[in-house]
């Protein structure tokens, strides 16, 4: 195959951010093609760089390395043949529905009469006739996104990019809009040649796409591509559909590795530092209790998402945390509770704290944090100091998130405390290491 037969081709695209002397790879060496007539989906957990990739593809952002070919030609500036439907709709709140669509046409220099006629026609097609003079704030989320679609269609894009278009909508409107988008696409009434959609919702991806490009984070990269051969309209209850979803979950949830691999290394040491998953302890306890109620103590992760009514991204972060803390193991899309996990689920509030504390003491990042506090004067460190040290491993925002998670976990386990007004971390007296605690016991 030559590159010319593709509508779009990405060649060795990388995005690297520099922060001080440190470089962080947001996207690593992505190769991707998109042919005419294809509906492809970029799927991955949050932070895997899929939205960044979409911005690179539309030309809003230039990659640090590699190039984007559109119809065989390197892309320069914003691609005039592409358009985006945004997650938060990106409608101008001060323009009416009609004006929001018209302004896209105005920017292309289309005269007023034609503009109005085309906007009317498009709004009619997405089912918004009668709402032309309304302002976006008067519409429901689903209707706002319809305006987003109409505006995107107005410029007759060859390549339609969708950035999590349904994730800000309620369940019912999202479902309705998905169907309408598929109908519009399969009817062939629109000049769009290909669709590229970004999502973190696994079921949505299997429901809509011809091809799923699965991405993972740290660094953001393409893990695998899956072709979905199911005919439309797809039945969510059909066994083939569920198989497919299960396969994707298995790919994304990964496989529990031996402990030393799973835990990673401490910040500043060679090797990969595992980020603390950004979850709350309540949610984790909820997951474990739910698993404990099952006789087998095992569940299909995909089913869990349905049962717990949480979205796949959130659930995967929880399973990752359970895995990291040794409360569960993951294999082939199934999660199984370990004996430790069972004990945790059944323990009292105080006992849970103790189990949790003993587990997070094993995590290199946490161990490192406790060690530096131990070594510090009066067992205290300022936020900025810790943040700077963590920035050797993580980008600034991630380092901040790591510290927020560490504070949350540390406060729960009473291992470390944080004083917000002074922005200081300090060790809880109980966590000060054995030598000093021994002296204190002697003193009593």
């Amino acid at each position: 195959m030559t590159t010319n037969s593709h509508l779009l081709a990405l060649q060795h695209v990388s995005q690297v951010y520099t922060s001080g002397a440190k470089r962080f790879t947001a996207i690593q060496d992505v190769n991707l093609t998109l042919s005419e007539g294809e509906f492809a989906i970029l799927l991955g957990p949050s932070g895997c760089g899929k939205s960044t990739l979409l911005r690179i593809i539309t030309g809003l952002q230039r990659p640090t390395k590699g190039q984007v070919l559109y119809r065989g030609r390197p892309l320069q500036g914003v691609n005039p043949q592409a358009t985006i439907v945004f997650q938060t709709f990106a409608l101008f709140p001060w323009l009416t529905v009609m004006e929001n669509v018209e302004v896209a046409l105005k920017a292309r220099g289309i005269p007023p009469k034609q503009r109005t006629a085309r906007a009317f026609d498009l709004l009619d097609r997405v089912g918004l006739d009668g709402f032309e003079m309304a302002y976006p704030r008067e519409l429901s989320g689903g209707m706002r996104q319809k305006v987003g679609f109409a505006r995107a269609m107005a410029v007759e894009p060859e390549l339609l990019c969708l950035d999590e278009p349904f994730s800000a909508l309620d369940v019912l409107s999202a479902e309705a809009l998905r169907g309408e988008l598929l109908e519009l696409w399969s009817s062939g009434n629109i000049p769009t040649r290909a669709i590229l959609m970004v999502t973190h919702n696994i079921e949505e991806a299997v429901f809509m796409a011809d091809r799923i490009v699965v991405m993972d984070k740290d660094p953001g990269r393409v893990v695998t591509e899956l072709r979905v051969g199911l005919p439309h309209p797809r039945q969510r209850k059909a066994p083939e559909f569920r198989d497919m979803v299960d396969r994707v979950y298995a790919t994304l949830a990964g496989q529990t590795q031996p402990e030393h691999v799973e835990l990673g290394t401490a910040p500043g040491e060679p090797g990969r530092t595992r980020a603390l998953p950004h979850i709350t302890i309540n949610d984790l306890a909820g997951l474990l209790e739910h698993l404990a109620e099952r006789p087998t103590h095992r569940a299909d992760i995909y089913r869990l998402a349905e049962e717990l009514h949480v979205d796949s991204d959130h659930l995967l972060r929880l399973t990752e945390a359970a895995e990291l803390l040794g409360f569960a193991t993951i294999a082939r899309g199934d999660i199984t509770m370990t004996p430790l996990g069972e004990t945790f689920a059944e323990a009292s509030i105080l006992a849970r704290k103790e189990i949790f504390a003993s587990r997070i003491r094993q995590l290199p990042t946490f161990k490192w944090l406790l060690a530096v506090l131990q070594a510090a004067h009066r067992h205290q460190l300022e936020w900025d100091v810790v943040q700077t040290a963590l920035e050797l491993e993580f980008p600034p925002e991630e380092a901040q998130r790591q510290l927020e998670t560490a504070i949350n976990w540390g406060r729960y386990t009473e291992l470390l405390a944080y004083d917000d007004s002074g922005q200081v971390f300090y060790l809880e007296p109980g966590a000060v290491s054995s030598s000093s605690s021994a002296t204190r016991q002697n003193g009593q």
Partner: protein, 574 residues
């Protein structure tokens, strides 16, 4: 209930230590003042002022002159804002210089410039024009900084997706300005314009009435009318003058600002509708008028369409990710080098002049700064003592608030400088005379900022917390300490920042004045500046002006900015 916005809130740039950039800016300001003083050396010794007629028939003419000056200055300020703010927001390198510059400039007491500007202009321009131009420059400087900062802040806080949408849909510079940037900034620009106008009146009145020694810089206008009336003790004319001033301010409020606010409600970013949108009878009337509707359809719409089409062709597409257009750097360096050398030379000259100031005068300046500082503090304290209890009473009683707020607003809108001659008329006979009336003038100029903010803060205290303190049966004192004072703190700080700025400014006209043919003065930095102006003591003028600027900027940095941070971080209700 949604917390009420803090009024007259100028967004403060991030707290940062004083760095070399600030020093450069301050040196630049010093050189500017020096240049003014240098020009002033040639200022005529005697400047004749205009004849002011006290006939009520002259008032419409005077009022329109005053408004004309305000409009001219405001137009200049808007133009400056759009250019300066856009440059700062769109160019990283420019941002690094322009924002610290703005930060220092907005803290400088503007009225301290008045004598220098007036004298400088009158040396190079014919008398009347010099005073006119100086008043416009002065009003411009009082109006511009908060507008510029508001515009810059809006530009840098436009949501990423809206910006991306305008890039994906290929908006050019004009369309982006019109559809995205201007609407996004509209509400903030209108509020800040109202604030700028309120401040502008204060300085206009000061500029219209400025007289020192044989130099009469007065301008025909409302301010001069009031002063003349007070000078002659003509109570009837005083009443006419104040009536006209209040009327002008009310008319502007009703015919310009209210309709603008009502119209701008559509530019709110929140997707949910507001609780009580601003209303305006004029706006409602205009909107429901068939004639107006027909007129806009017939003339405005086609004209707008043509303008759009022309501007769309005129401006090219601005690519968000165009390979960073490399603007050649050498002109920048040349300008920088030449500017830097000029600055150094100016600083050297200014230093020479400062060295000529004898030590005894420096000590007078030092004492003056302290005296004025004490007056400012006294005015702030008095204002706090009465505004906090009253503000809380008004703020926690919605019915009272609805009734009192307009009254307070109108009273507050009368610029204190316009009333000053009248205050003098009453106070000069009393013991303490000018000393007392100076504090009173500062108080009149500043208390309203505090009162408005305390009212806003009191209405913003969540009802749940009030119930909780009632349920806990806290004593009155404990209730104030645990709930009311902490909740008010950010509002009080915001009000006090504006108030203290106003008080420093007032010192120039309050501490040394010509009244009824007499010259009265007291000890203070404002008095030093005014006296230097009247005696033509230029080194002293430079030294006093700079001392005042440096003191105020330092207090801003060391006290107010810190309190503001504390308020934002610790005492914010979310």
């Amino acid at each position: 209930m949604k917390p009420s916005p803090r009024l007259f809130k100028i967004e403060q740039p991030a707290l940062r230590p004083i760095n070399w950039g600030d020093i450069v800016v301050l040196v630049g300001v010093a050189v500017l003042v020096y240049a003014g003083v240098r020009l002033a050396l040639d200022a005529p010794v005697v400047i004749k002022g205009p004849m002011i007629s006290l006939s009520p028939g002259a008032l419409p003419w005077y009022a329109s002159l005053s408004i004309g000056r305000m409009v001219a200055a405001y137009a200049l300020a808007m133009l400056f804002t759009l250019l300066y703010g856009s440059l700062a927001a769109n160019n990283r390198r420019a941002e690094k210089i322009l924002i610290p510059l703005l930060d220092v400039l907005q803290g400088i007491p503007i009225l301290s410039f008045l004598p220098v500007v007036l004298l400088g202009f009158s040396a190079i321009l014919p008398g009347k024009m010099a005073a006119e131009l100086a008043s416009i420059v002065l009003i411009f400087t009082s109006q511009v900084w908060n507008l510029t900062f508001a515009w810059y802040q809006s530009l840098t806080t436009i949501p990423g997706e809206l910006r991306e949408a305008s890039a994906v849909f290929r908006f050019n510079t004009w369309l982006r300005f019109k559809t995205l940037e201007l609407p996004f900034a509209a509400i903030s620009l209108i509020w800040n314009s109202m604030m700028s106008w309120a401040g502008g009146w204060f300085f206009l009145m000061a500029a219209e009435t400025f007289t020192v020694g044989h130099r009469d810089f007065r301008l025909p206008g409302l301010g001069a009318y009031l002063q003349e009336a007070a000078n002659q003790g003509n109570l009837q004319a005083i009443a006419w003058g104040i009536g006209t001033l209040v009327l002008v301010i009310i008319i502007l409020d009703q015919l310009v600002w209210r309709p603008l606010l009502a119209w701008a409600d559509r530019f709110k970013l929140e997707m949910a509708g507001g609780e009580n949108p601003p209303a305006s009878w004029l706006y409602d009337a205009l909107r429901s008028s068939r004639l107006i509707d027909w007129l806009t359809q017939a003339t405005w719409h086609p004209a707008r369409e043509r303008l759009d089409a022309w501007l769309l062709r005129r401006f090219s597409l601005r690519g968000e990710t165009d390979p960073a257009k490399t603007i050649p750097l050498w002109p920048l360096y040349v300008v920088g080098t030449v500017g830097g050398m000029g600055l150094l030379y100016g600083a050297f000259q200014a230093g020479q002049m400062l060295l000529a100031v004898p030590l005894s005068q420096w000590s007078t300046i030092g004492i003056g700064v302290m005296a004025t500082l004490l007056r400012v503090l006294a005015a702030l304290m008095i204002a706090l003592v009465w505004t906090v209890p009253l503000g809380v009473i008004i703020g926690s009683n919605p019915r009272l608030a609805a009734w009192l707020q307009p009254v307070v607003q109108i009273t507050a809108s009368v610029p204190a400088t316009a009333l000053f001659p009248i205050v003098l008329l009453v106070m000069l006979g009393l013991p303490g005379g000018l000393n007392l009336s100076a504090v009173l003038l500062m108080l009149m100029g500043t208390q309203w900022y505090l009162l408005f903010n305390v009212i806003a803060g009191a209405t913003a205290i969540p009802r749940d917390l009030k119930y909780t303190t009632a349920l806990l049966q806290l004593s009155r004192w404990r209730r104030w300490r645990t709930l009311i004072l902490p909740a008010l703190f950010p509002y009080i700080v915001t009000g006090a920042i504006t108030a203290s700025g106003g008080a420093w400014n007032a010192s120039i006209v309050a501490e040394h004045t010509e009244f009824g043919g007499r010259t009265v003065g007291t000890i203070g930095i404002g008095a030093s500046i005014a006296r230097a102006t009247s005696h033509g003591d230029y080194p002293l003028l430079l030294a006093a002006t700079l001392s005042m600027i440096i003191t105020v900027v330092a207090i801003n940095r060391l006290v107010w900015r810190r309190l503001y941070r504390l308020a934002e971080e610790k005492y914010r209700m979310e």
